[in-house]
Symmetry: C2
Subunit: 250 residues, 2 copies
């Protein structure tokens, strides 16, 4: 029995402060170079303890959004120059909860650039144990495609790529994949539809796995590229359409 229950989110005080200040900075209401109010001012203004505020500020500093100088105040940084990829998770959704099209396009492009190389390295480096698990996933994908269950196909696709990334034995790809997956999960439902074409390519996935088992890096590369481009092109086209619509009604 599935009730569709979701765990209750109990956001802590520092989290709330972090969210609020991060939004102010990312929306350019606080511009790079601007000084932040003092910790004492901020804590009273936000109605939280200074300790809680400081935990939030430390996180903002780690994220590359602000810079604290002992005795010299706190300034807003230009996140486009100082923040790392992890910030993507916060950038995708605007404070109003809608996906930012420019960010979405960026993610799709990055995915298209990385996925083929991940498949290629996986073909070169994965062992038989991983091959076995890849075959299992493909088997489940086939099951989920006869009476088409897009939801399940999406989860299986994620699992497949999880395995491919593991097999690629590249920690940078592994971590970047984690970041992309976090952003992905924020709009998972919308992406089921946008990526439907890609998710339906079960046989292409089977070919990809076969190429990997034969340790054919180049074939794995091109096959993966074909799979991923199918989805990306669909999403990019949709984004372009939406962008033009938005221009008409600013």
């Amino acid at each position: 029995m599935t009730l569709g229950l979701e765990p209750i989110v109990r956001s802590s005080l520092p989290d709330a402060v972090f969210d609020q200040l991060a939004d102010q900075i990312l929306s350019r209401r606080l511009e790079p170079g601007d000084p932040l109010p003092s910790e004492r001012e901020l804590s009273t203004a936000l109605g939280v303890n200074r300790g809680a505020l400081r935990e939030a500020l430390k996180r903002l500093a780690q994220a590359g959004l602000i810079e604290q100088r002992h005795g010299g105040g706190t300034r807003v940084l230009d996140y486009r120059r100082t923040a790392g990829l992890d910030l993507l998770t916060r950038l995708l959704l605007t404070p109003q909860g809608q996906p930012d099209l420019h960010v979405a396009r960026s993610i799709m492009e990055m995915r298209t650039a990385l996925a083929p190389d991940i498949a290629r390295l996986c073909a070169l480096r994965a062992g038989p144990a991983l091959h076995e698990r890849l075959r299992e996933i493909v088997g489940e994908m086939r099951e989920a495609s006869e009476p088409e269950q897009l939801d399940r196909l999406q989860l299986l696709s994620l699992e497949l790529w999880e395995l491919l990334v593991s097999g690629a034995d590249n920690i940078a790809y592994r971590l970047a994949f984690n970041t992309l997956r976090h952003t992905y999960e924020q709009i998972r439902e919308a992406l089921v539809i946008a990526l439907a074409d890609e998710l339906r390519q079960v046989e292409a996935c089977a070919q990809l796995v076969a190429a990997i088992e034969r340790r054919d890096g180049e074939l794995a590369f091109t096959t993966a590229r074909a799979i991923v481009e199918r989805g990306s092109q669909g999403v990019l086209a949709a984004i372009e359409l939406l962008g033009e619509l938005n221009e008409g009604s600013p």
Copy 2:
């Protein structure tokens, strides 16, 4: 007059705590699932105030290394599944200060995958203002290559890629580039030597810029790929050699 002075690092208490715990986790001395001592225990054990400790823990949680549960203790996570790309900065150097070869290889591979697409997008999207600045950089590169100044060539190369990333108009690439640059700067001096072959390709850079000015995405892609592969192959070969040496003397 250049004295080669470096700014004095005044690491704060939370930073020191963060470093120490992060090293414990990344070196697997604390394994995923392991419970961390309570905040009160840790703070007395480390000799710092609980507030300072908490700021460090918050950062560890944001980095995806630990998970705090109100009332239920704090556990170590599997950073390979939960951390984002930003962690790369900490992974490259072992606690002893030596570069981790597996991480270095990963970074080189990622760079090789991203750089060509960055150049391609830059060719498609950059405007004349950027073209102008690109030409300037190439000009300076030529100056720095007659009596060969590898140091200066390295800085100019970084500037060039900084501009290319800007021109690509892709926030994901932008942020990933920031992360990679941070890791890069940690071993900049060693990389001057390892990437010498790549840095010397000033004329190839000129061709890349020319391709971008002609808005020829495909040409920019292949030219950039050629440039970057030159350096990566050298580094990868060196890494393989060092790896074999290490196996002989564990």
